[in-house]
């Protein structure tokens, strides 16, 4: 095995689409841009392309660093690169910022050509299915008829799953990690609290805060704090922070007393500086709405019957946001519809966040699976 390396310096690219995109909720996006990055080389047979789908706060910047921003490391850099489990010497890897995003693809921050102003609250609802359709158009543009694999964690896993149902002939392998076939009431409840934090921020201005020159920072910060609680396990929080005090002594105040508070505030502040509140709202709604079995009377196996891909499903023992039981729902539905599927449940302390970490067993499973994919 070669020593794993970084893909090095990368550059984002932008593809403009003039053909209107009909959206699941009924509206049409007249034109749009998708920002993306690629790593590795598309082979002559065009059979080695792997699409990486991002989750709530992710982007097209999956691996490597930017020449002018060498500390901005891609969010799945530990997975993607030469000699890494998703080996860029074998595969041509693509990361795309989803529609409605805030990292360069058309979203609420973008200018609505019809008004000359930012879309803001008027940006149409986008769903997992819409994202997949937009990604498919990018694949067309790049000359990729069929992906060797589509991979994603969490909300990204839902997109990977959806690829196999919307474009069954266009994906050979689906890697769905730390994900679920639909959100539970508890999942939706957490999303709703996060949204209410944003919607009730006085700086939100009904979603048109751009023209007021403000951003609903407090709401976004709260939303992210709630999110972070659900990404970590009880054990991980206990181990990392316990009841450790920020100042060593109890000060009897509502300021930062415990280390965990300091962590959540730091994460919230950091997020509020770069993420768009409207994107957060749209994205959590896309999560809420995703339910591929809905058209099949709730029968997931029936919904998956049209998939042609082989699947790898991975879950983490301490993930309570998308617990292993949710992944097993996908696995049993795949077994019952006669699909090829592998399932690994990784012992990890890190909760939902595990899917982003370099856990040896987890990466051994991904490496083995990618190795067996022929290109």
């Amino acid at each position: 095995m070669k020593h794993p390396r970084s893909v090095g310096f990368v550059e984002a690219q932008k593809a403009h689409f003039d053909e209107p995109l009909p959206l699941k909720a009924g509206r049409v996006l007249p034109q749009y841009d998708l920002v993306y990055e690629t790593y590795g080389t598309l082979n002559a047979a065009r059979s080695n392309a792997v699409l990486v789908c991002h989750a709530l706060s992710g982007s097209h910047h999956v691996a490597g660093v930017y020449r002018d921003d060498p500390h901005n490391v891609g969010w799945w850099d530990n997975l993607v690169g030469p000699g890494k489990p998703l080996d860029t010497e074998k595969f041509f890897v693509i990361g795309v910022n989803n529609l409605g995003g805030c990292f360069g693809s058309t979203g609420p921050v973008s200018i609505n050509p019809a008004t000359g102003k930012p879309w803001g609250a008027d940006f149409p609802f986008v769903t997992v299915e819409d994202w997949v359709n937009a990604q498919a158009r990018l694949a067309d543009r790049l000359g990729i008829e069929r992906f060797a694999a589509v991979i994603g964690g969490s909300l990204g896993g839902m997109q990977a799953l959806s690829w196999s149902l919307q474009h069954p002939e266009r994906v050979r392998h689906v890697l769905a990690i730390a994900t679920a076939p639909k959100l539970s009431a508890q999942n939706i409840a957490f999303n709703e609290v996060a949204r209410q934090a944003i919607l009730s921020d006085p700086d939100f201005h009904g979603g048109n805060y751009y023209e007021h020159g403000v951003v609903p920072k407090q709401g976004l910060r709260l939303a992210r704090m709630i999110g972070h609680i659900t990404y970590l396990s009880d054990d991980a929080m206990a181990e990392k922070f316990g009841r450790a005090l920020r100042h060593g002594i109890t000060r009897y105040s509502y300021d930062t007393e415990f280390e965990i508070e300091s962590y959540l505030r730091y994460q919230g502040d950091k997020f509020a500086r770069f993420f768009d509140a409207n994107t957060y709202l749209l994205t959590t709604r896309a999560l809420d709405y995703y339910d591929p079995a809905a058209d099949y009377g709730g029968d997931l196996a029936a919904a998956l019957a049209r998939a042609e891909a082989a699947f790898l499903v991975v879950a983490f023992t301490t993930d309570w946001r998308f617990s292993p039981a949710r992944s097993r729902e996908i696995v049993s539905a795949l077994v019952h519809s006669g699909k090829d599927v592998c399932y690994a449940e990784i012992d990890s302390k890190a909760g939902h966040d595990s899917f982003l970490l370099e856990h040896p067993r987890y990466h051994a499973v991904l490496r083995a699976y990618f190795n067996r994919i022929e290109v």
């Binding site: 077994v335 019952h336 599927v341 399932y343 690994a344 449940e345 083995a368 067996r372 994919i373």
Partner: protein, 208 residues
């Protein structure tokens, strides 16, 4: 470009005689579930020779990776927790080769096998094999090809015989439809399995 990664042909290592023997009970194209599938050798063999649609259940991380490398559908699960995720009667055959003796919930898993499968195939080391009896008579726990561990490090938690298994099946309304036995050299045993077989295989089904 490969049209399907299923087509990959892997050279299977030589199969144990019990695994070869149970292959003859599997019809082409069947849906097969292998409980405790190890590194996937049996399923690979059944896929390559019978074209089965096969799934394995395994709980050991290294073996799961081995199965993935072999192109086997492997599902991580603890068999002692049952097969609750699987539908009634989905499989033609549910196989458990040399794993029943290492399970706590013996009756539960036998019932589960025949809930999700039309038939089940169970192979196990026969504790009443004559060399084992001799060992006990000499005052020592048997250690052999089929019982390779010492008493203090064996993963086995249930020690039983062909006769014991037959009795349990009767209690559970399970019918033993066919037996196969092998001695400690891997040679087929034709009679008195409880005495002469080191390894026994039973094809079982629900009593009508």
């Amino acid at each position: 470009m490969a049209t399907s990664d299923r087509e990959t042909v892997h050279r299977a290592p030589t199969l144990r005689p019990d695994l070869l023997a149970l292959t003859e009970w599997i019809a082409p194209g069947e849906r097969v579930l292998d409980l405790g599938c190890g590194d996937g050798v049996l399923l690979r063999h059944l896929i390559d020779t019978k074209g089965v649609v096969g799934y394995g259940i395994e709980n050991d991380p290294a073996r799961i990776v081995a199965c993935i490398e072999r192109g086997i559908n492997v599902i991580q699960s603890d068999l002692d927790e049952g097969l609750a995720d699987l539908q009634d009667g989905h499989f033609d055959h549910v196989i458990m080769s040399q794993a029943l003796q290492a399970m706590h919930n013996t009756q539960g898993i036998l019932r589960e096998m025949l809930r999700v499968g039309r038939e089940a195939i169970v192979s196990f080391p026969n504790f009443a094999f004559w060399k084992h009896r001799k060992s006990i008579l000499e005052g020592r726990m048997p250690v052999s090809e089929s019982l390779p561990h010492q008493w203090f490090n064996t993963p086995n938690v249930r020690f039983f015989t062909v006769a014991d298994f037959t009795t349990l099946c009767g209690l559970l309304d399970i019918e033993v439809r066919e037996w196969r036995g092998f001695d400690d050299q891997g040679r087929p045993v034709q009679e008195d399995l409880n005495f002469l077989a080191a390894l026994a295989i039973a094809r079982i089904g629900r009593r009508a």
